[in-house]
Symmetry: C2
Subunit: 380 residues, 2 copies
């Protein structure tokens, strides 16, 4: 998994004419996890690439875990390594292998780490992606696996919605009020049962709260209003899934129906554009979505009613990474992106439909296999 | 919740004679969450404290969430705010209120943020704790709530263990092999069902893998060996819980019994030391554990068999924060710390027993209410 990253490090070192690469961060640093496969401690540890060798420096208490997970050449542990001593450990390790002067570091490395390294070495910072956006077959398989579990979560919520009864215009399930929070917990329990974390990303809106793109609060769910479920969990290897569906229980109003149809058409248009595969500019996908929604009479852009977000983003070890479908970059083979048009009206509700796809030479492969339908059904 | 943090910022600004405080980070930055209560995007956003006002600068798509969650004075959103523009937004916001020259920032702020800020302002970095280690009653309640859910997870796993049958020396449950991974998923589903995230922290070891302090892999569980469960989930407000228990199913061997008794005695000794309450040096707690284990014939320190970790750490919005029970600081009212002696033998297994307690004026309050027993029982 990490070989691609190491190849990219070698290329960057050559390009910049630096002697070694260093990254220091904690378990929440996705780039560090990309380089190491190690989901280490919640304090700083160091990764060093020098003289063709990839070395992880970890506190001793994480030694067994490091040796289990690290995909590089060597794990060095030290009893006294704390977060604060990680830069010193990195310098020691470099010195063992090379008479380095100039080292490359990611630009988001912490200021205290940069200051500590700069006392001994010249730093060159980089915003390079190190090949993250071009997923290998192994990475695609990891993403597909998480997406499959996300869909199980979706199936669970859809069948709960299909089983609800309506009392005083509010959805009830198993005799009790079904709130967005209660529904979210059911979804998250399914994810957990399949070894995947909800990662605080299970967003469920009902009616107006669908327009709040990150609604994780508690809301009643009313008959006739849109119910938007966006599930973006994280698997044990650190890769995310991402799927969104929208439903309505009870009578479907004119706005809800028209919006649903428009968003579904917009997603079709996006996928049709992606049919051309690698080489097209990412923004053409967003443009096809915009045009379709505008043809349906909806506004797109910096608006309060309509579509006010991009069409998609890369997904990998970060939930949001390159490429963005609003950028003018050309799509490449192995890009994994969401395709998620949405239309919202803060007074009424919102509809979003989202799949996760891999860009191929001649088109795309959809990692999502989940029906699109406005009326919830008990069977996937 | 955030008032304490703001008071501490005012104090630090006075002490350092700085004109404003800035922090820039993403949703994974626990200090930023402590200042804001905002669990924002996975890219950088800015928090500014200037002229007595606490201001959050967020991307527009997170505006509703920011207004729902932020505990300060004002939320500024901007359509074009990306991670890279957050420092510029912070500077703009400061300039609106003050003719600032010298600003205070946390030392772990990213190097690129520091570099961007330094083009316009003089930076002073700080490692201050901003009162995080002294929990308010509201924070203690949040911690207690998560701890209660962690205990529900423990109760679930304990009753599963009590229901197991032994076949070929391996534990089986509901007719199938019970692995550490299968058990972990059951625990994590209970956490999710109660609105709490496992946060990738449910560590379950069996026999030798108990000695790997962060074992999240898959292992068979054998009759007679120690089964160590360490559950440290995170609640919706960002506070963690932390509880560990160790069990044995089947015949209990001499080593397992002796080790369990020693660790239980060591925990009792630690709690007895904590009975003196605020004012004692943290390391005296670790010392009482060491002495007790040594009296039982176990080694403590940089050893491969015995206790090779500290006795405890602070818990709050980070799973590991101040104070450490190995430090020479004096404990303060409101410190929330784990008390977790453990003894391990990589050839045989390991025992750890962990409670979470709040230091009070005259002693401590145990946030944990979970039986300590080596033989699993179906009822908590």
């Amino acid at each position: 998994m990490v070989q691609k990253a190491f190849d990219e490090i070698v290329r960057e070192l050559d390009r910049i004419d630096a002697d070694a690469f260093v990254h220091v961060g904690d378990r929440f640093d996705d780039l560090l996890r990309y380089f190491t496969d190690f989901s280490g401690p919640d304090r700083d540890y160091a990764f060093v690439f020098v003289a063709g060798r990839a070395i992880l420096c970890a506190p001793r208490l994480f030694g067994e875990q490091a040796r289990r997970e690290f995909g590089g050449d060597d794990v060095r542990t030290s009893e006294h390594q704390t977060g604060a001593t990680a830069p010193a450990r990195a310098i020691e390790t470099i010195r063992e292998f090379a008479d380095a002067e100039r080292i490359l570091v990611p630009s988001h490395i912490s200021h205290r780490t940069a200051t500590a390294l700069e006392q001994h070495l010249e730093l060159v910072t980089t915003d390079a992606d190190f090949g993250r956006s071009r997923k290998t077959p192994d990475e695609r398989a990891a993403l597909a696996e998480v997406q499959e579990v996300a869909q199980r979560g979706m199936a669970r919520s859809e069948s709960i919605l299909a089983e609800t009864t309506i009392r005083d215009e509010c959805l009830h399930w198993k005799g009790k009020l079904l709130t967005t929070e209660r529904l979210r917990r059911e979804v998250n329990a399914v994810l957990a049962r399949h070894g995947v974390q909800d990662a605080r990303n299970t967003v469920i809106g009902a009616g107006p709260s669908c327009a709040d793109l990150h609604f994780t609060g508690e809301d009643e769910i009313h008959s006739g209003e849109t119910i938007l479920l966006d599930i973006s969990p994280r698997g044990s290897r650190g890769y995310y899934g991402d799927v969104t569906r929208t439903f309505v229980v009870g009578d479907i109003g004119e706005w809800e129906r028209a919006t649903y149809d428009a968003v579904q058409d917009a997603q079709d248009a996006a996928l049709e554009t992606l049919d051309s595969g690698a080489g097209i500019r990412a923004e053409t996908v967003h443009r096809s979505v915009s045009e379709t929604l505008q043809n349906h009479g909806f506004e797109v852009g910096d608006v309060s009613v309509g579509m006010y977000h991009g069409t998609g983003h890369g997904v990998g070890r970060s939930l949001h990474e390159s490429p963005s479908l609003s950028s003018d970059e050309r799509l490449e083979v192995g890009n994994v992106v969401t395709v998620e048009p949405g239309v919202y009206d803060p007074e009424r509700g919102g509809v979003r439909i989202e799949d996760l796809v891999v860009v191929t030479e001649s088109g795309y492969e959809n990692l999502t296999d989940y029906p699109r339908r406005i009326r919830p059904s008990p069977s996937r």
